[in-house]
């Protein structure tokens, strides 16, 4: 199998990349486009650190073949700050001390965004369920859940979108 040129829509930009056969979306985002917020804690679908949105749906980029993404719109954490302004969801992570080493944070924020975009007023159980594919070894999950609860509250107060 030969290397191949593919096009991807990432964070609102069109990108052309040469990929190796069977390259994952994670390989492309991290190593080719240097979107470093896409982490790689396991490379096998177990940790959620590589979470991105593909057409708004939460996906593990380590289990997604780059070629299969097609025309879909890919969003990484970097895509939330195109104007540099911090979004309420990120602000809630900061105010709730919802990160220590920060390695899981990008994946957590993306999972939370996917949840709030589809369910702006989730119950605590729904938040726990929404983050259940994302592991954190440092912080403990309580501050992370609180951050998402606060973000949901902020959204309902202002009527804004999650991010």
């Amino acid at each position: 199998m030969e290397d191949k040129l593919i096009r991807l829509a990432v964070n609102g930009r069109d990108e052309a990349v040469v990929i190796q056969p069977l390259a994952t979306l994670q390989d492309v985002l991290r190593d080719k486009l240097e979107l470093n917020a896409v982490k790689s804690g396991c490379g096998q679908g177990g940790c959620g650190s590589c979470s991105v949105l593909v057409d708004g749906e939460l996906q593990l980029s380590c289990l997604t073949l780059a070629e299969r993404v097609g025309d879909a719109e890919v969003t990484t954490l970097e895509g939330l700050n195109e104007t540099n302004a911090i979004v309420p969801l990120q602000q809630a992570f900061i105010e709730n001390y919802a990160a220590q080493c920060g390695y899981c944070t990008a994946g957590m924020v993306m999972a939370a965004k996917a949840l709030l975009d589809r369910n702006p007023a989730p119950s605590r159980d729904e938040i726990v369920e929404g983050l259940s594919g994302n592991l954190c070894r440092c912080t403990g999950f309580a501050p992370i859940v609180r951050a998402v609860q606060q973000a949901a509250q902020a959204l309902s107060d202002t009527g804004e979108e999650a991010s």
């Binding site: 990484t76 911090i86 990120q90 900061i94 070894r137």
Partner: protein, 448 residues
């Protein structure tokens, strides 16, 4: 001083890197990207204990995308090492790449460099090692029983020898045998902890990049950047000034990133090929190969009076170091330093041994040596309370160390807060204490 004047105490202080984490802008070692970077994968021992009959790397070298392989023959400096050699801990016992024998399943034997991680992995899988298996030792007490051969010539009885020929970190205080003879009760039990993987979300890894000036830059997620640099230099026999180590944010460590596990071989590979080299543990390696918290076994014997006073405590403990020493002698020192727990006991005897087995080498994890000691001692305290029919809170308050008490290490106790801590915990837990126990303080032993 009023709270107003205190800048930090009693307040929530902003965490400096939180915004950068939330934006995904924090830089970890892996976030530098170099063109023409090679990937290193390790061929590891499939046996817990075996003589190496032969190693054949020809198929690996011929594998597509493989650039070179490194065995112990390529090591320019040391063949065996210990991370604390510079501070006098020895003898150095751990092969950097295994040669005559393997002593744990997962021990590194051959490093394979490939144009991609996949090419390196495929190449590493093609290394052929012919083993002559030897019986394995997996139990600490069995290992030192004398019925099994020594795992290495360094440790004839399969346990570490501290300076002055001590086979254990020891405490001798008072006379435990006399204490036992005078006691109303003898309470004895054995406690065992498990090895625990630190399991950071970011696995161990580094990138070594040769520069035009003859220096090598190493981006690493070590928890101890200067320690890693100095050990890498010592292992390879090069001047530390040739190495520029850059730490960064560590993606979780918990003691699991102090072993200098990836840097020396990556630097050697970068020197050999003149290209940047990345060595990142897979999740499987992180869980199965990287060192864990040591498993500990503790046998505790207490002599106790009817009124709850513990008059003698004897502890024999065994730290399962796995196949090699790493930092275990330090771990067992800290372990012994934590004995006999936060209690004043007039007769104490402790032997804390570092034992070698065919398990993966163990190492630091939060509270190195201390957790196992606390775990066993506090379970033992509960057992004592049950045996003599005393409230476990009261038993602890009665025996808790006070200021001015001579500790088993011949140090007079200062700044004790054990009594007040137990009292506060009892209150939070809604546990009623009798008036005389509520009146106890760290400054006297009135109630006893």
């Amino acid at each position: 001083m009023s709270m107003k004047e205190l800048g930090v105490v009693g307040r929530n202080v902003g965490q400096r890197d939180l915004e950068s984490h939330a934006r995904g802008q924090t830089t970890y070692y892996e976030d530098v990207h170099y063109p023409r970077m090679l990937h290193l994968k390790m061929h590891r021992s499939a046996e817990p204990h075996a003589r190496i009959v032969s190693v054949d790397t020809s198929a690996a070298e011929a594998s597509p995308g493989v650039v070179c392989v490194l065995t112990h023959e390529d090591l320019p400096g040391k063949k065996v090492w210990n991370g604390l050699a510079a501070v006098g801990v020895g003898p150095e016992d751990e092969p950097i790449l295994a040669f005559d024998k393997v002593r744990w399943r997962g021990e590194p034997i051959v490093a394979v460099l490939g144009e991609s991680a996949e090419a390196a992995r495929a190449g590493a899988a093609k290394v052929e090692v012919d083993y002559d298996p030897l019986p394995g030792v997996f139990d600490v007490e069995e290992a030192i029983s004398g019925s099994l051969p020594a795992l290495t010539a360094h440790w004839p009885n399969n346990h570490y020898i501290y300076p002055d020929d001590h086979g254990a970190a020891q405490i001798r205080f008072g006379d435990v045998e006399q204490g036992f003879a005078e006691a109303d009760h003898i309470v004895e039990d054995s406690y065992q902890t498990s090895p625990i993987e630190q399991a950071p979300m970011e696995t161990n890894g580094c990138i070594a990049k040769p520069g035009g000036d003859g220096r090598i830059t190493v981006h690493t997620n070590t928890q101890a950047v200067h320690f890693a640099r100095d050990n890498t230099a010592a292992i390879l026999g090069i001047a530390p000034g040739k190495l520029r180590f850059l730490g960064g944010t560590v993606g979780g460590g918990f003691g699991g990133k102090v072993d200098v596990a990836v840097e020396p071989i990556s630097v050697l590979a970068a020197m050999r090929t003149g290209r940047p080299v990345k060595f990142k543990y897979t999740r499987e390696e992180e869980m199965q190969v990287s060192s864990t918290r040591s498993a500990w076994r503790l046998n505790i014997k207490d002599g106790v009076m009817d009124d709850g006073r513990i008059v003698a405590r004897k502890i024999t403990s065994y730290q399962d170091s796995g196949a090699y020493l790493r930092f275990s002698s330090y771990g067992s020192m800290k372990h012994a330093g934590h004995m006999p727990g936060p209690y004043t006991i007039p007769n104490v005897w402790v032997d804390a041994r570092v034992v070698f087995t065919n398990r993966p080498p163990s190492s630091a994890m939060r509270g190195f040596g201390v957790m196992a000691a606390s775990f066993a001692i506090e379970l033992q305290m509960d057992k004592v309370a049950k045996t003599i029919g005393m409230d476990p809170w009261q038993l602890r308050l009665l025996n808790a160390y006070r200021n001015g008490d001579m500790r088993a290490h011949r140090k007079v106790n200062e700044d004790a807060a054990m009594v007040e801590t137990i009292q506060a915990a009892a209150q939070l837990a809604g546990h009623e204490l009798p008036a005389e126990y509520q009146a106890m303080t760290s400054w006297d032993r009135k109630a006893s």
